[in-house]
Subunit: 192 residues, 2 copies
Amino acid sequence: MELLEERIRKDGTVKEGNVLKVDIFLNHQMDIDLFNEMGKEWKRLFADCPINKILTVEASGIGIACVVAQHFYAPVVFAKKTQSLNIDGEVYSTKIESFTHKKIYDVIVSKKFLSPDDHILIIDDFLANGCALEGLLDITKKAGATVEGIGIAVEKGFQQGGDLIRQRGIRLESLAIVESMDAKTGEITFRH
Amino acid sequence: MELLEERIRKDGTVKEGNVLKVDIFLNHQMDIDLFNEMGKEWKRLFADCPINKILTVEASGIGIACVVAQHFYAPVVFAKKTQSLNIDGEVYSTKIESFTHKKIYDVIVSKKFLSPDDHILIIDDFLANGCALEGLLDITKKAGATVEGIGIAVEKGFQQGGDLIRQRGIRLESLAIVESMDAKTGEITFRH
């Protein structure tokens, strides 16, 4: 998606350790107009899919998912990190390892909100090693729900997560795939 | 807001320990159409305020804030719980005690995203003892930003948070204020 690639080039910053900071528009400060354009694009890409629910994981996926959901006329469910006292006992749970925070989270979704009747679009801001996605896929599998596809804003194409998902035959639409980036020059190359 | 009160009566559940569960439409599964109606109502209530940015805190405030922001043509900034390795060193920070999770969080906002030029609308899903709001107000004060007002979906009127905020002269618009609720009968009474 050209609009997103342009925005990453303009406002993204490459840091040492394969870190791409896009916190000015994607995952700390959030550009809602951009999210709506992303929603239109995913709606175009998944137009043939009977999607009735959007699934994401807290925290930075939630904003994108909620704005994008308007283009699918669907509710959003977000997977929660760690057990909350306000969650009923009956939950689907899995473990997700966070590359960013260097720890393992328990992630849960109430059984009330996922069922075999659901046709899910998974939405998240970033895809690198794919741990968060594997966790969400595990939860949908436990629920017996159908995953129609996955929409990712920024995929780090030089890490393995995206390829592992595609090899499993799951439809993955990343709106920008970073092929390589250079912390010294700031240069970012996208896959097309 | 009648629509929200009706929805709470219909889909909310009162549990022992002053817990009001509205996870079917507000803070686990999220009804985006409802969020848009809430956005229209806050836009009406804050029509005279020069709001240029929406501030919330992860996780359950983010979805509401992002949908509501569309009615103000403003970006959203969400305060993050705990220090992330992807956050630049320069942040405003405060501590927030969570009633729900029984612990204290460090909460941060990058200094890039709040300044004395900002006129902030704070949005969150719940107001009970007000700890999360006090934290967000502390961060805006450190940034020198102007808080035009606070929009809360559900206020527990029988806890002190809302009154403490109003006593400080801050404009607080809660769309539903629960005056009392009864876990045995399931009855919920709203303040008007």
